[in-house]
Symmetry: C2
């Protein structure tokens, strides 16, 4: 048997064995020849414009697609058009399970819905804070743009900033301070400051004289803005109420309750708790209830975010609604617009938050 | 000025304006020339092997990367290696917000962690059930394999099966009956049947004479398996207890409570509720508590899934733990192995579920 020309190798023989990997990528023409139809018919069937063909033709094409191991040549097309039709979402976290946080889930949900609606895919990438410096994973993303959400102040990390820059892609940054105005970056935030201010004003109006704000130690701009807003109200209004900021090692129920137990043991008097998020507010509520403290009569409790899961908590918590889903949607809108027009038409957007008054204040 | 040779066009002039898009893709050599370093140095900086270079060299390279609008040529590399280093996850849902379901979130979390750990990205795609037939979005996924999770029995949809097949990619199918043994498919499930059987046995052992199973109308194999398991226990054990299956229009709290109200209004006597998931169990628990029914003395309540959010429900619910995160991790493991070896080494895996006894039974 004469040696075969590799350039014209028929992929069908090899594809017959599921183990074998064909040496060249089958083309539309290969499939058409196998199915005994025109390349146009193959294209129509493969691209989902199935109407107008009878079952038999379609089956024949699909069988040929399988035998030839044909894959629509999107990588080649994207080299030509310079468009991947995909946007990356990088979630930088301290923990291992980055989707465990309901705020992040809700934001990604909005982002994915917004991208899919415009024909773009979402490439999701969780990254532990320790892997920031190498971050070689980021560079493998085949995307037209990159969204970044960080639970922490990781932009201080020089190597990480360098890696992001080296991507050469437009960036939508969620919940971080406004970045370098020179960069190809759009910054999307919610008004955490105003949210914190508003909830503090509400607690003072309801009679709070000493508010304890409890937040995780984590150096996260969004969390700090909530506390700064509360402090700003205390300092700029003519109230005689005061604010104490308490930090817990993290945002878990046990850490929150531990920090609060320590504060209570110091014999401090307080009549309101403003927690950095609802998980922490619920943990505080449970600790106080266990200690026979009446809520809101003895101590008022307020949280932050107002996401759906708080419905499972029996009591209607006073909180601040975070527009996490909407931030994600907006990120999709501006990213796609940037990809398609070549520039962001805005560099920074802040969405409002809203006070939700429950039965705990 | 003589016309320039397009092949040697310097991209720097065009890249200076943020609006302009360079006509050719800058290469490693272009960047090296601009930065006055070797291509190897550029490669090292860009690929995150930053050690060994001083700040000044790195900055010079990164500036050149930006000026040249250089992007590592992954699309070209993947054409050569036939590997995208990305796996798609298709979530087919009835609702609009597909990440709102905590089971799905948990599974995707495990899948993403498992893929990232092995150097693969996750491409996430939500798809409404009405868009199944066209599903042109699926075909744009630039992936080495496709994972599919459907909240419904959508495999009955012929056009959708055809579209999946035409992808020509290995498939990991979550929570569906074992598929066509001919396909390049691995089926990963949890033991919903045994979970349903176990919870039913537990309720009967605790004295239940009439168990009401409440599930959404949705034709979803996993949900049906839970009920089938419960029914199997009633039929095969020598118990005189009985089981009634009640359906609600969907799994929302209002639909669950509506269906249960209707059943109660019919004067039916029952002493246990087995809900298809924990959201429904919590809704039932609240309705009964509002009606002064004592739990578990008058009526026992059990759910399914045991995901983290039930911690926010004050009462420790009896439920069945679903290994959603582990299913996702396992999916990543088998998908990557399939991509790298050319075949799945197993076609079907079922993970066990586990009864978690709380204070509601």
């Amino acid at each position: 048997m004469p040696p075969r020309d590799t350039a014209s190798t028929s992929p069908t023989r090899e594809a017959a064995s599921p183990q074998a990997r064909p040496r060249h990528r089958a083309t539309l023409k290969d499939v058409a020849r196998l199915a005994g139809v025109s390349p146009m018919t193959v294209s129509n069937v493969v691209n989902g414009t199935l109407r107008g063909y009878n079952e038999e033709t379609r089956d024949r094409v699909l069988q040929a697609v399988e035998r030839a191991n044909y894959r629509p040549d999107i990588a080649a097309r994207s080299l030509r058009t310079d468009r991947r039709m995909a946007v990356g979402m990088l979630v930088v976290q301290n923990g291992r399970r980055f989707l465990a946080d309901p705020y992040i889930t809700s934001l990604i949900d909005g982002l994915c819905a917004g991208l899919n609606q415009r024909g773009y895919s979402l490439v999701l990438q969780g990254l532990h804070v320790d892997d920031l410096a190498s971050a070689s994973l980021i560079q493998q993303l085949q995307t037209d743009g990159l969204c970044v959400l960080m639970s922490g102040n990781f932009m201080a990390n020089t190597a990480f900033r360098g890696t992001l820059k080296a991507m050469g892609q437009p960036i939508v940054m969620f919940q971080q301070p406004e970045p370098d105005p020179e960069g190809d970056i759009c910054s999307l935030r919610q008004d955490d400051f105003e949210g914190g201010r508003g909830v503090c004003e509400h607690l003072v109006q309801r009679g709070a004289r000493h508010i304890v704000a409890i937040v995780p130690e984590l150096d996260w701009p969004a969390m700090q803005a909530r506390v700064a807003g509360a402090r700003s109200f205390i300092e700029t209004s003519r109230t005689r109420s005061k604010l104490t900021v308490l930090t817990s090692t993290d945002e878990s129920a046990s850490a929150t309750q531990g920090a609060l137990e320590g504060f209570i043991a110091s014999n401090a008097q307080f009549d309101a708790i403003f927690a950095g998020n609802d998980q922490m507010a619920i943990a505080a509520h449970r600790l106080l209830t266990r200690r026979q403290v009446r809520i809101p009569e003895d101590v008022m409790v307020a949280g932050f975010n107002g996401l759906e899961f708080i419905d499972y908590f029996g009591t209607r918590l006073t909180t601040v609604r975070s527009p996490a889903f909407e931030l994600g949607q907006l990120g999709a809108y501006h990213m796609v617009k940037r990809i398609e027009t070549g520039s962001f038409d805005t560099r920074a957007i802040t969405l409002p938050t809203a006070l939700m008054i429950g039965t705990t204040s």
